[in-house]
């Protein structure tokens, strides 16, 4: 089969590889019909996540059809249309039983190796470096899904592919971000990052009772999408002092809940940006925590900072004095997708969450490298490019048409937060 492989920093290649096989009794093989790019892939592509090896197949947000099941698979059958959660959970350990799936004790084959870095092993993730198990990813015609009964969910007939695919990762990550933010009715929520996860966090925040949600980013088309599709007020941090604007617009209190949906490659302005860039280049810090700093600084006293943007290791100048003296609560985590999927199907059906607008670029597998370029460069209105490995041609029959994202010129008149 064909698969999109990581070949080195900013070097992706579509290669011919072997078809996957059932390796354990609880495995299933899924024929991939849609496999989305994700912001967290960019950390691998840009070389900020360690333990990648040339030949690794990327991709972790996908749907498809079951074509083979292992002898111990009970809930699934060949032909089932499924969405597979990006994170792999065994379903039997203490953490899975507590529905903390991304902390699974048993799904990471390299758990001992990972322990040396993180002290404790965490769950395996598809296509997400060898520290997270070294599992082959979903940008391929077929993928092997371990512990399939727990990770693969049958998609209800009335939920179309272009919504279901994001239930794999983007929607549950955004939902969990909002849930961890401990939103109470009337709260003002600030979300840094208006990419896929940020958009879903905004929609989930409204669902969980937020009065106002404010999105912060620098890419105009993403802010436009946050305003039009997710109904947020927006701040472009290149045009405004974020802390001032947030304070001004909340009666001097600051937002009650702050969500970091950006993570380790945060951009910022002025000297702070060059400071972090230099330190990261010299490997004196692995992560650029500009958003985390700003979220801690902006949050109202006693508020909550919720972190779902991916961090890999160490970062500097985190304002812990503010964190302590303002009495903040800080929570973070990779999403526990298996916990949320049935609920998310329900919310999507009711229209409370709608991720379909994020599918801006349906892409055949062979154009995968190009799709990541668009996505990495935040160009061409790209929210998420979705690889369709079963479609060979440039023109994808039956794929959702490009959704018309409001461009920069039309962005005038957005509900800019001031």
């Amino acid at each position: 089969m064909k698969a999109l492989c990581w070949n080195g920093v900013k070097d992706l290649k579509v290669e011919k590889v072997d078809d996957p096989k059932i390796l354990n009794e609880r495995d299933a093989i899924v024929k991939v019909t849609m496999s989305s790019v994700c912001g967290s892939d960019l950390h691998l592509i840009n070389g900020f996540v360690p333990s990648m090896q040339a030949g690794d197949i990327l991709g972790h947000e996908f749907i498809g059809e079951i074509v083979e099941v292992g002898p111990e698979v009970r809930q699934l059958a060949v032909g089932d249309r499924v969405v597979v959660v990006s994170i792999i959970g065994c379903g039997e350990c203490e953490y899975c039983k507590d529905e903390l799936w991304s902390l699974c004790d048993n799904s990471n084959p390299n758990g001992i190796l990972q322990k040396k870095v993180f002290q404790y092993p965490t769950a395996g993730i598809f296509g997400y470096s060898h520290l997270f198990g070294g599992y082959a990813g979903s940008h391929a015609e077929y993928i092997r899904v371990p512990f399939a009964d727990h990770g693969a969910f049958k998609i209800p007939d009335d939920i179309p592919d272009e919504k279901a695919v994001f239930v794999s990762d983007g929607v549950p990550t955004g939902y969990m971000a909002a849930e961890m933010a401990d939103i109470k009715p009337g709260d003002v929520v600030a979300v840094w990052g208006a990419g896929g996860v940020g958009q879903m966090a905004i929609q989930a925040a409204y669902h969980l009772g937020a009065e106002r949600v404010i999105a912060i980013d620098s890419v105009d088309y993403r802010l436009a999408a946050a305003a039009t599709h997710s109904k947020a007020e927006v701040i472009n941090y290149r045009d405004a002092d974020v802390l001032d604007v947030l304070k001004e617009s909340t009666g001097g209190r600051g937002p009650d809940c702050c969500i970091d949906a950006v993570g380790m490659e945060a951009n910022s302005t002025g000297i702070e940006h060059y400071y972090d860039r230099t330190k990261q280049f010299l490997k004196l810090e692995t992560d650029r925590p500009a958003v985390l700093r700003q979220a801690i600084a902006a949050c109202r006293k006693g508020g909550t900072v919720s972190v779902v943007g991916v961090y890999a290791g160490f970062a500097d100048k985190i304002p812990l004095g503010l964190f302590l003296n303002k009495g903040l609560t800080m929570r973070g985590g990779q999403m526990h997708g298996q916990r949320y999927v049935p609920l998310l199907f329900e919310l999507i059906r009711e229209g409370r969450i709608d991720p379909a607008f994020m599918l801006t670029h349906p892409t055949p597998l062979r154009d995968g490298p190009k799709a990541y370029e668009l996505f990495n460069g935040r160009t061409d209105g790209c929210m998420r490019a979705v690889i369709m490995p079963q479609q060979a041609t440039e023109h994808i029959a039956g794929a959702p048409s490009l959704i018309n994202i409001v461009d920069k010129e039309n962005a005038v008149g957005l509900p800019v937060c001031e």
């Binding site: 080195g8 590889v17 090896q53 030949g55 048993n106 799904s107 084959p109 001992i112 070294g134 082959a136």
Partner: protein, 233 residues
């Protein structure tokens, strides 16, 4: 010096040390110059090392006696299953190969004795030995050791404690020693640090087999061309 010297250089190595010492000494004395001094000092050191069978440098590097290196692996883990179940699975020693692939087979001869067949790195094939359970306190402790005359001395101990709401806490010690004296090299080869890592992983597999019913793997999955090495940093 009244302290007894503990020999930490094996017989073969002592012979090599003396031969090398003689060679360096001969060359150094043959054309004696200032430049010969380091070679002569080294020669002297090798003579003493070979003669006494004691090497301070080896000692400093961690080799304290001839019997080293041995493999001692300690592990602690929590298994989300009741103590009785966890004890029972380990006590049936024939189950060990299901999570420790380096053990080819463990056959129970009777209540206490068992026959072990293992495949080990550097040994070129299988080695076998008999072991007996030396301590057995149901649901609390199992201890075993190989009986005299085994090509490799193996011993181990597992203790089980309740972890309220979380199943069972386990302490595991697994050790391999080459037998004292004699039969050195072949058995010593297996006792490399890599093997220690293998054992550590295999002990952790016990938890995976007990809880998930399988050992997670990626062996045999597809990948593109491995044109570079895995980089941890």
């Amino acid at each position: 010096m009244s302290r007894k010297i503990v020999k930490n250089v094996g017989t073969t190595e002592r012979i090599v040390s003396i031969a090398l010492g003689a060679y360096l000494g001969y060359n150094g004395l043959k054309n004696l110059r200032y430049q010969s001094v380091p070679a002569l000092l080294a020669s002297g050191y090798l003579f003493v090392r070979g003669g006494l069978g004691y090497c301070p440098i080896s000692r400093w590097l961690g080799k304290k006696d001839i019997h080293n290196p041995a493999i001692n692996v300690k592990a602690v883990m929590t298994v989300n299953k009741p103590r009785e179940e966890v004890y029972r699975y380990w006590r049936a020693l024939a189950n060990l190969p299901s999570f420790m692939p380096h053990l080819h087979e463990v056959a129970e001869i009777d209540e206490r004795r068992s026959h072990w067949i293992a495949e080990m790195p550097g040994m070129g094939g299988k080695i076998e030995w008999d072991a007996e359970i030396v301590k057995d306190e149901p649901n609390e402790l199992i201890g075993w050791q190989s009986i005299n005359g085994s090509p490799v001395k193996n011993a181990g101990k597992v203790q089980f404690y309740d972890a309220p709401r979380r199943g069972t806490e386990m302490r595991v010690i697994f050790s391999y020693h080459p037998p004292a004296g004699g039969l050195g090299t072949a058995a010593a080869k297996l006792l490399n640090p890599l093997f220690k890592g293998v054992i550590e992983n295999e002990i952790y597999n016990f938890k995976r087999v007990m809880e998930a019913g399988e050992i997670p793997t990626t062996d045999g999955q597809p990948a593109g061309k491995r044109t570079g090495k895995l980089k941890l940093i």
